[in-house]
Symmetry: D2
Subunit: 337 residues, 4 copies
């Protein structure tokens, strides 16, 4: 079986795009069985790499890992790997309802050519810390050659990812990175992992996280498919601030970026967002116009229209930033700094 290169935390840098799984126009219909738009998947991977993105994460919540059939997953993994051609690391998602199915799917993903898996915890029962840690130990034992990103989503996995969890999974060598959320506990968890996992904050939180902790130099960005130049600019403006010690441009940009997040979260609530995560993210992305995500697979295809309107507004705001950054002119927020 093919073995991916062993990655280390220091290999994980910059802007890591999270992908939705592009869907054919009929994908909300439960009668369909072949709903992945593989051509769009290939086009998007090419565009992201061309735009400067550093890595790819896929098949998480918004990537519809829950609602793809097995055959669709296999086909999609192949499309991603083929499109990337080794230029950036490709992490697929192999979260299932149990340890054994996850190991089998992870081995399959490895054989297809994926570099890693962004892996969440079986979510039928809420796990204890012991259960969550043992799950990652068992899977990495069962598929030891893969690279692993902890997928730390508290709403999806009924788990608050406390400090003892991070301290324990940091001892698993295959765990190199984590899709992280929230800056509140960031310093607490950084002290637990002692550099053995590269935590990826959300793009909207990267400025705050980077200022809090100098070792945070990578982030995940679902916004990348709304226009990758925004994600890449964010990466670079933080790096420049670090190099020069002058954070004024980074701060000015953050004040442009932050307002695009607000309308994506209904009533400002992550819990409410989580109920409609896929529909909201796909609506945002389709509104931005850079990618064609298609519709949402069942049962998550229903969403209140006023929530969707917020998501569209978010996507359009991001697209405007992308357009400004792609124009070749000095961005408005840099003028006069």
């Amino acid at each position: 079986m093919r073995k991916p290169d062993r990655l280390t935390p220091s290999d994980i840098k910059g802007a890591w795009a999270i992908l939705p799984t592009p869907a054919t126009p009929n994908a909300s219909d439960w009668r369909e069985r072949n709903t992945v738009d593989l051509d769009e998947a290939a086009r998007v991977v090419e565009g992201l790499i061309d735009g400067g993105i550093n890595g790819i994460l896929s098949m998480g919540t918004l990537g519809e890992a829950a609602t793809l059939t097995y055959d669709e997953k296999i086909a999609y993994m192949g499309a991603l790997v083929d499109a990337a051609r080794g230029r950036v690391p490709v992490f697929v998602g192999t979260t299932t309802l149990n340890t054994r199915d996850t190991i089998d799917l992870t081995l399959k993903a490895q054989d297809i050519g994926a570099d890693g898996t962004m892996l969440g915890i079986p979510m039928w029962c809420a796990p204890s810390v012991d259960t969550a840690v043992q799950f990652y130990k068992d899977v990495t034992d069962g598929a030891p050659d893969m690279n692993y990103a902890i997928y730390a989503n508290p709403e999806a996995f009924k788990f608050d990812f406390p400090r003892p969890f991070w301290a324990a999974v940091a001892e698993i060598p295959q765990v190199v990175t984590a899709k992280y959320i929230g800056v509140g506990p960031l310093m607490r968890d950084q002290s637990a992992i002692q550099g053995r996992i590269k935590l990826l904050p959300l793009d909207f939180e990267y400025y705050a996280a980077a200022r809090m902790d100098d070792s945070i130099d990578a982030f995940w960005t679902s916004g990348a498919v709304c226009g990758p130049s925004v994600s890449v600019y964010l990466r670079d403006v933080i790096a420049e601030a670090r190099a020069t010690g002058d954070w004024s441009k980074a701060k000015a940009f953050q004040s442009q970026l932050a307002p695009t997040a607000a309308p994506l979260f209904p009533n400002g609530s992550f819990q409410e967002f989580s109920m409609y995560n896929i529909a909201l993210e796909k609506e945002r992305m389709n509104a931005a116009g850079w990618m064609n995500c298609g519709p949402v697979r069942p049962p998550y295809h229903l969403c209140p229209e006023n929530y969707l309107a917020g998501a569209r507004a978010s996507g359009e705001m991001w697209a405007a930033l992308h357009k400004e950054l792609s124009s070749g002119k000095t961005p408005s927020w840099e003028v006069g700094l």
Copy 2:
């Protein structure tokens, strides 16, 4: 394809046993792929029917629907159907992470010979009421000849099963029953469904539910596999009270039964119980000695020892009642009534 008989709410009566999926001794090891003890499954079904149980529910949370592989599920369904030989209705479980996989598995179960499915909601994202209702509509459209039990577990499915949900699913003809929990909202939900779904309270709550509402004449009982005579006596003592208007014997028995529940729930918490549901239930059942459940499949095989001790105590108390009821003597609580 084979079609099961169409059931109606009035067909659902008496004591419906919920089964764990018996496991081979090595089943906690993620390396194993064939862990269902099919002989024990057949023996238990025979014993339950012989003991007077009215129906069988399986492959819910404690039935390890989350952690069985696809092949194990198919084999187990066949074993249950074969053992029951049409003497009582057999409901398997076909909950998955999405609508399409559930439809496919439900059709497969129908073809194998199951009478119905106890069906929960995809639980990666918390569903809205609209999403939950549409899910049941889509699945019953996709597999219209099956009978359906709503599997109403709020912790597993991130959903509180409010009144509008019940009002809506009551309009789906294939939905005939529901594994229900809690007597608090019982009357509210009974008024919503207007007799179109037979709600099954938990054995421990059957006395209270039956007194609250005269139309409640069935219940689910995971205790049945700790000794079915207890479940059957519960059914009969309530029926007798209804017929005579004298509830003293039923009340006396409830005061024997209720204390067996307490040690099963760590700190009296259903939420805490839900984290360790499978391990606790299997420990209880193994301690009772009537059935050999075997160990728990990963990742849910870890559980604090003091919680397990409570579960064992619960199982032993139930077993003592079973023994007394099987002895041929007048039970102690009936003496002097």
Copy 3:
């Protein structure tokens, strides 16, 4: 100091009305300092006793114990005691932010002539079971001649009133009753208190509670001030059912009463109701027209209009039942039974 008669659980029977504290028209203005409509208070007490109510509870959440000034409390206590003239027991409320203030206010209430206090727990910090139990021990030590009703409101007091709490406070002789909520844990808590506290369910839940447990023969009713004949009829129809063994009339009435509750609870949520408890209850009561509650004292005087509309609908439905019961004709739901 005056000593009230020692009550026992068996003294607590029938319909116990919970009173709002009637307010003068300007009572939502923080500049006012004398906002209790003492004449309306006297009129309402007279009307309730005349209507057949068995006891009076006051100065809980909807009685605005939180927002009355000390002087207003003292004046209001006097008005209630004077109006009742010993014909039914009067429980005031002496919940404060701490043990010492509560003891002082309870002694004052005793001196004024109150028979008891409906007492909640200081709610700045969420109490542990030990803290909650010790609080009731200390207060009953400090004011040992009063009668006590545990005021078991989980939202107000950040406490879920678990079984060990009930087991412990049942050992305090002065604790004779409890304003209870929910039928879910009723049998669990009844077994904990062993008859030493008379639990009062809510009027809407009295039918269910009475059927679950034969010893439940009293309830609290905020609806009484929407028309006391409804509360009194509820009491009597349950008593009649108990005496005859024929519950058909009681059940028919419950199906009339239950729908009046639904619009009072925004989105069916007790938690949401609790945020606007006072405004919703007063709106309901004012809409029913039997009592003039006046406006809500600050800071709880703001409430969404659509929530208030539901409360008005609830009050009008109750008032219609009151009217039918006061008409002298056979109520519609009794016809044909």
Copy 4:
């Protein structure tokens, strides 16, 4: 009536100490009515000012605002004002159960000589955003000459202090500062208030907050009474980093300070801490030895011993830092930088 100087957000700088209310040895006994150790209060204020503290906050949760009697509050306010002698601003606390009592107590505090009040929201009912905002508007209308610190404790006040709340209270001129908690929503809330309120993060979070946002230059510190030189050093090391652009010393100190927080929070939980806030903080402070807090007033005087042990460890760790900083030698963490 005396009027305090009008403060502006830019007047709030540096380390603001939060005080417990020192108690006489018998203060856990509900029979006592005069439990404030006024001499210790005066000594502590003198010591804090002498140690370099910039302002004083008092009579919040750990300051036992809930459990002091009215007379004790008045006496304690006088003692604080007299001891400070105008050298630093003194904020007392005037949180009560309602708008009117709070206004009256705030006017009284103003007359006694307090500069401001750290004011929480009435907590019997959970407030809506509208209710919370109107409360601050009404109180500042009723006592317009005082300075106000929003006391933003989500557990105490059943309120999550969302962005719209901050946007609204930022328009009240008398609101100059806020005792804030958590760095997660810090940037969101900073953008809402637009510089019109000086947010005070917790000492343990000051490093993170200061790096996230350059305008954060003040914090609250309950640790100050465990040894004020730690709080003052924290203030100064951040200021030095800002001036030089070299954060290495600040970061090295943060890695010393952070571990002292961990044992104070049982199981790492703020919710659990909040149940025993007073007992834990007083235990920490008494263990540190710089101040004699005395015991806890009822009903909050009970706390599990293993939680108290953690609090003592926290206090001893802080005291060790204080000792090292007071020794005149170069602190260990500065060596080799």
